[in-house]
């Protein structure tokens, strides 16, 4: 029963309550160099969620749209599939969570993520990877993530992903102002966070070129050969060992000085 969050971009007024809730609950510092709101807002090791400001053209003039950005918590998470230390794990509740004590710092997850979400604590001596946990401990208790619970504008719907996806589809079918797509339904194999909008997603900085095939499927296409490669490599090396050993014995017997 995986949880999900539906974000209705048309309802956001840009107050940034969600960004403050994230900082409070996760005990993270604000930095002036890394704004959590505005046109320059970007995810960082200290910003697990930001609200990006966009001014976009619409029928008669310009409109302001605010996009809350955070880890989308893929159903088939590329980061978790890339992590050999099991520091990133997809839970059955929905969140993809990170265990700092298991992380070896290889940063494969950062390369694997199609949404460019995991960040590295570059400014620390012993850095770790850092990303939104979807407030996994709150979710486990039946509470909504911090950002969701504080929104005064009714932007979010929190619930079973299947149900909120149905609701999202019903909403966009009912109201023609919406773009007829639920972002996150299929992207990267589907994500726990879903978005609906009245402005095309690519104009709001969403990556719309992400395939609907989970990234882990691609890696599986070659990683599935790993056992075959490992076994056959062993056989080849064993063969070579016996071959050279035998060649040495023969050369010793025949008195020839064969250098290997």
């Amino acid at each position: 029963m995986a949880k999900g969050v539906l974000v209705d971009i048309t309802k956001c007024v840009g107050c940034g309550s969600c960004t403050v809730a994230c900082k409070l609950w996760n005990d993270m510092k604000f930095s002036e160099k890394e704004p959590t709101m505005g046109p320059e807002a970007k995810l960082s090791a200290n910003n697990w969620t930001v609200v990006r400001f966009n001014e976009v053209k619409k029928e008669n003039g310009k409109v302001w749209r605010f996009v809350k950005t955070q880890c989308l918590h893929c159903q088939d998470a590329a980061c978790a599939s890339a992590c050999f230390a099991k520091a990133l794990q997809k839970t059955k509740d929905g969140p993809v969570i990170y265990y700092p004590h298991l992380c070896v710092g290889c940063r494969y997850c950062m390369i694997a993520c199609p949404f460019n979400v995991p960040k590295y604590e570059w400014d620390k001596t012993f850095p770790l990877v850092s990303k939104c946990q979807m407030c996994s401990t709150k979710v486990a208790k039946g509470e909504a993530p911090a950002c969701v619970s504080v929104c005064p504008a009714g932007v979010f719907k929190y619930g079973e992903r299947d149900e909120i996806l149905k609701e999202a589809k019903a909403t966009i079918a009912r109201d023609s102002k919406y773009v007829q797509e639920v972002y996150g339904e299929k992207q990267a194999g589907g994500t726990s966070w879903l978005y609906i909008s009245d402005v095309p997603f690519e104009q709001l900085g969403f990556n719309t070129k992400i395939s609907s095939v989970p990234v882990s499927t691609y890696s599986h296409n070659f990683l599935k050969y790993t056992p075959v490669v490992a076994v056959s490599w062993g056989i080849i090396l064993t063969g070579l060992y016996h071959y050279t050993k035998r060649r040495n014995e023969i050369s010793k017997d025949s008195g020839k000085n064969v250098k290997l």
């Binding site: 840009g14 005990d27 302001w64 265990y99 990303k131 911090a146 504080v150 005064p152």
Partner: protein, 523 residues
């Protein structure tokens, strides 16, 4: 000590490796046993109301949106605790947040009233601090720095220095400003009296039917910039009722760089005009693009009528910054030319005050006689009731009906009623309506000293009492038309109320802002 010269023990290779191994084993064991195995995050806190199952709705939550370019208020995210109080003030007291539909257009709807700065328990939301600009101007030897103080600051500034609410510190405030180095200290009361002359004349013209078709009855007051912006956003169809008079602050600003500059022979470009206001919306008002009439008049459109507005709180900080103890200062007098004022002007700071002052002088303008004693203490328009009304007999006109509202939620009641009456073709119920953005009027404006949370009527009442005390007991005159400096201004410069020059400098136009939002249909 005896081993000081002894050779240190040699460590064998085996010993060294053993030691290294031991250290690393302990390290690994410690990190597995002692270090947290929790997932990242979730180590902070959230206010109690949010720590409930997702199926329970949270009642008071979030915070209001604030445009980073808002000229009046700013917010420090580091101090915000998401208590939801700003939304309570904005939505319930001022009916701004939540009164427009989403999606929004290209504006974050805000009337700049600053009530949220009084409600915010951590002072995360504050006025936009512009003390630096004033300090720089005061240090600039080439600038002639002029300051004006609003009616309501004189009954509140003292609170910042430990005096009880409502303490009257008019003279000490002037003394402090002179000590800070301002070259001239004027009283916004002076232009409040002037406003009464202009607005009263306009009202008499409306009542007489001189302005039929263009400016109908009732006439709305226009002194409160938060109220004006509110009307522009939500009731643009009623803007024809708004008096064309600028607020007293902007009138004084326009006169400083024309009349005062001319009288004193100072280059208007060298004048830096500061206002001390109980209001954050005044910061926005002085930046309205059309507020450069003095500049236009002297042919330098870039000049602003008022350069910087400081709130009462900022003035208190500036005085403390300079190490001045306000309570120890000897009272000083406002400078002449624009320093005289009457009791009618000082009550602008109280809800109902503009109405009362206008009634006093309108009576005179119509009958050419001073109003009877009863009109000098118009109790039905005083006090903290949200919507007040009164009926008066004025010889020659008959019954004049007036209404007063303070706090924008109360304004909606009168405005919706007027809209409905107009739709049904009913004659107007009132001749004149006073609207103030903030509950209690300017004495409880968004720039006033912070009090209890939420701001209490007790403090408001104390400040109101002092305002009426100044009117009744302290000032010598109680009628705007008796202000000699105002009379002199008309004689030397403006000719008469609503003259061509007065229209140019003291009157303004309004903007329909309904296109920047989708107002919710109410009722």
């Amino acid at each position: 000590m005896e081993n000081r010269t002894a050779k240190p023990k040699t460590v064998s290779r085996r010993g060294f490796l053993k030691m290294l191994g031991g250290v690393s084993l302990t390290g690994v064991a410690a990190s597995i046993a002692g270090c947290s195995q929790d997932p990242a995050g979730g180590k902070g806190w959230l206010p109690q109301q949010y720590q409930v199952a997702s199926s329970w709705p949270v009642q008071v939550k979030g915070r209001i949106p604030i445009d980073p370019n808002n000229p009046s208020i700013v917010r420090d995210d580091k101090k915000c605790i998401l208590c939801g109080q700003c939304i309570e003030a904005c939505e319930r007291v001022q009916t701004v947040y939540g009164y427009y539909e989403t999606p929004i257009k290209d504006d974050i709807t805000c009337v700049n009233c600053g009530q949220c700065t009084l409600w915010c328990p951590t002072a995360a939301i504050t006025e936009r601090d512009e003390i630096d600009k004033v300090v720089r101007a005061l240090e600039d030897k080439n600038l002639h720095v002029v300051v004006q103080t609003a009616p309501a600051t004189r009954v509140a500034l003292g609170e910042e220095f430990g005096l009880p609410p409502g303490s009257i510190v008019e003279g000490k405030q002037v003394a402090a400003l002179k000590k800070l180095g301002f070259d001239a200290v004027f009283d916004t009361n002076f232009t409040a009296d002037l406003t009464i002359m202009e607005e009263g004349t306009e009202l008499v013209r409306r009542v007489a039917g001189d302005l039929k078709g263009v400016k109908p009855l009732p006439q709305f007051t226009s002194c409160s910039p938060g109220w004006v912006k509110f009307c522009e956003y939500f009731y643009p169809d009623l803007l024809e009722h708004m008096s064309s008079c600028k607020s007293p602050q902007q009138m004084l600003g326009a006169l400083v760089k024309t009349y005062y500059a001319k009288e004193k022979g100072i280059d208007p470009e060298k004048i830096f005009s500061v206002s001390i206001m109980p209001c954050t919306a005044k910061k926005y008002e002085c930046n309205r693009p059309e507020m450069n009439d003095a500049g236009k008049h002297v042919g330098k459109e870039k000049l602003r009528d008022v350069d910087v507005v400081l709130t009462t709180r900022e003035l208190a900080r500036l005085i403390k910054m300079k190490g001045i103890d306000l309570t120890k200062l000897e009272d000083a007098q406002y400078d002449p030319l624009m320093g005289e004022s009457t009791g009618a002007a000082v009550i602008f700071g109280a809800t109902g005050g503009v109405m009362e002052a206008a009634v006093r002088s309108a009576y005179f303008l119509i009958t050419k006689q001073n109003p009877p004693e009863a009109l000098l203490n118009l109790t039905p328009v005083r006090g903290l009731q949200g919507v007040k009304e009164a009926s008066l007999e004025i010889p020659g006109v008959g019954q004049v009906n007036v209404a007063i509202s303070h706090g924008l939620s109360n304004a909606r009641k009168l405005l919706d009623q007027l809209r409905e009456d107009k739709k049904q073709g009913k004659p107007p119920r009132y001749h004149f309506i006073e609207f103030m953005s903030c509950p209690g009027g300017c004495i409880s404006g968004g720039g006033q000293p912070r009090t209890s949370l939420p701001p209490s009527d007790q403090v408001r009442q104390a400040r109101l009492n002092s305002i009426y005390q100044i009117d009744a007991k302290i000032y010598k005159k109680r009628l705007s038309h008796e202000n000699q400096e105002v009379a002199m201004l008309y004689q030397k410069f403006l000719e008469k109320p609503n003259s061509h020059l007065a229209e140019e400098l003291l009157h303004t136009e309004y903007v329909d802002r309904s296109k920047t939002l989708t107002a919710k249909k109410n009722g």
